[in-house]
Amino acid sequence: MVWHIFKKDWKLLWPFFLAVTAVQFIPAAIRVKLGLFGEDSVLGNALSSATDIACLGVALLAVAIIHQDSIPGVRQDWLVRPVRRGDLLVAKLLFVLGLVDGAAIAAATFQVLASGFSLRESLTAAFFQNLYLTCVITLPAIAVASTTRNTMEWVIGAIVTYLGVVYLAVAFAMIAPGDFSLRTGTAWITLSAGLIVILLGTCVVLGMQYIYRTTAVARGSIAVSCVLFVTVLGFLPWKALFAFQQHLSPEPGAAHSMTLSFDAGLGKYHQPSGLTLSDQELSERINKQGSSAELFLPLSISGLPDDSILKADKSQLRLISSNGTVVYRGVGEKLEVREEGTSNRQSSAYQEFDIPEAIYSPLKSQSLRVEIDYSLTLFRLDTAFGIPALGGDLRSPKVGWCETQVNESRSAVELRCMQAGNGPACATAFLENPSTGGRNPSPSRCEPNYAPRFLRTDTDPISHYGLDLRFRDPFGLARYPVDGPQLPKSQVVLRLYGPQDHFTRQLIIPAISLHDWEST
């Protein structure tokens, strides 16, 4: 009878289904039209609304399918018919997960295909991205729908559930501020665990409703699932998360010879001139003034392989007083050390910690023991590509699709890339003139996501990444080896780095005075 029930729902809902399917294609078409550089601001603004409407459409259609034979209540005709509840559930899931999500996959596949990727890549990217959307939109929508009688009740239920999750998240963030693993490359593990909670919660709720019709218990299960979901997102222990990530290291032990030590000889850190900071860095610095003290600890790093990047996923600081009491626990700012080319010398870096002024003031002159637990990732150069600096166009399975163009103020070459699924974890790029050997400084984009390539947690099945490569200082204060006139003969060298080893190190400084390492 599954097919019979399915056909009944189809006869009643096909116009709604076609409308929602059409709506799915709108954001996909906008993304294709925006391309790599996304210069059409009207379309860019419309994309967000179109995406929201498409997601809402999927949710409402899924709800309508469930509500054709709603579970709570005592007036529904199907309750007195010889309808197997298992058949009813399977028919509903077939419609929601087969047809509705199938249409979403078709729209995403169209987008990836139209962006020039292969059919195989397109289908894989669309399928896995839709898996994420199913977990965050469709499953919660049908879980709540199975405990409500009509759309109005569902809207109320959905709002209550959403506000509950937000309230819990805010409450949990206040309990453990700044300690979210979601800001690291291991976020995919946390999110996957959260999605598993949603999946299991939905299974429990649907089971409760379709087998036992116990709406009160099912609603309770939704509440418990929400608490579990937020708990998983906020409180999965970092050590366990990182240990799991370590097990997935492509080359375990690749960083075994790498050491990290406190190097007082490097001297005190001096803040760079405001001119060299980006707008964002400048505004961050202004915001911090007065509220916290910036501590910069000089570090010496040895054993870094050639063409590698070392990135701290998390640095957990403990300040311990002379009597052995931990007087402060905090998390460090980002630490990234690059070793480009071949070099045997030691690398150095400054590790920043922002300590609240109220804590810092009484401690700054004391002699304290500092312990830092580092969770680190070593990236190795995976591949490098050269693209003409002007009008460059590169397509490759590893890099995806990249283009270059000069920006409006004619001060930088914009390199923009897209990749089906997740893009590279780390990338650097620089302008190079092969005929003169001149090379400009290379910025990096290293916001790692260690998720498998196609495990994408976003509404867009394609990831976008890019870098701006300066060749002219609009203020005339700096000069670049590769400048504007050389661009026709120059190329952008794009270097992609992949994570090789996730590992931990502990740094212990037996006694320092914080005041000595405050930035100037």
Binding site: M1, L12, Q68, G73, V74, R75, D77, V80, P82, V83
Partner: protein
């Protein structure tokens, strides 16, 4: 066919059904009678496993009502005044949707019922009148020749013409089936019910065959030579006792033609005349309901 044993249903602090036990014999047309809010619909929804009882058990077709499976439901027809059917389906679509669920569905009977009840097949359910919807529900309930037909307030809001059509359709196909019908309109079950149960505020006042009920209730009017003494004691089976001058009237709930005269004369001195009148179902129901409420106060 149906056995209810000490059924109890609470909604919050309100007892909708209290300690309800009754049995519906196979082949009977069992009427569940009671005023609005008496607990009839709640009882039926428990029997159909739509609601769960707070206490007690019920058996339908020999199965615990909480375990009614599609196998049993395929032999039960159900018509209710407040049954939500898919509003966007046409009558034909709905009937076609139901057909495969019932192994005993009789397509010829379905056609004849739709014709007899003059149901427009192409019209959407949401566009049908209340009466039309009930007739459609009846056609759907009868088309598979159910063993048990449950009718929950089927006449509510029907005009006399539609009611007659409904009854005609029902009686024409009744055959061997057992019928459980709930109603607060007593005139409507007259001539249909073979057994009756009276419910009041969730409690069962009595259940018995229709013939026995009609036989044991009489309106009695006794004319005395003089006004009776105020302290006269009367038996508990005489209810709704009224005195007006030298005339005493009451309802005898255990009427026996032979015994009444002697009992009256023993309790009321100076009897000049005794007049008994048979009672209609409506009068019996109102008398019982009133008595139950007065004794509760």
């Amino acid at each position: 066919m149906i056995q209810a044993h000490k059924l109890w249903k609470k909604f919050g602090r309100h007892d909708a059904v209290r300690d309800l036990s009754f049995a519906v014999p196979e082949g009977s047309a069992f009427a569940l009678i009671g005023a609005n809010g008496a607990g009839k619909t709640t009882t039926i929804k428990i029997l159909m496993n739509i609601l769960h009882a707070t206490g007690g058990t019920a058996e339908v077709l020999g199965i615990d009502s909480r375990r009614l499976s599609p196998r049993e439901l395929a032999r039960i027809g159900y018509v209710s005044e407040n049954q939500d059917m898919p509003p966007r389906m046409t009558v034909e679509q709905f009937v076609a949707y139901l057909r495969p669920f019932y192994p005993t569905w009789d397509a010829e009977l379905e056609k004849s019922l739709l014709r007899q009840l003059r149901l427009p097949g192409e019209r959407r359910i949401r566009d049908l009148s209340h009466g039309m919807r009930l007739k459609m529900a009846l056609a759907c309930a009868l088309s598979f020749r159910p063993k048990l037909l449950v009718l929950d307030e089927p006449f509510s809001g029907l005009d006399p013409l539609v009611r007659d059509e409904f009854m005609e359709g029902l009686l024409h196909q009744a055959g061997e089936m057992t019928i459980l019908i709930s109603s607060h309109e007593l005139g409507e079950i007259d001539g249909v019910a073979t057994h009756v149960a009276f419910l009041d505020e969730g409690k069962l006042l009595f259940q018995e065959s229709m013939n026995d009920v009609i036989a044991r209730f009489r309106e009695v009017r006794v004319t005395l030579e003089r006004e009776p003494a105020a302290s006269t004691h009367t038996p508990s089976d005489w209810v709704q006792l009224r005195t007006m001058g030298n005339v005493v009237s009451f309802v005898d709930t255990q009427f026996s033609k032979d015994a009444l005269g002697e009992r009256v004369k023993a309790l009321l001195p100076g009897v000049r005349d005794i007049d008994t009148q048979p009672m209609g179902l409506r009068s019996i129901f109102t008398t019982l309901a009133r008595t139950a409420r007065e004794s509760a106060v």
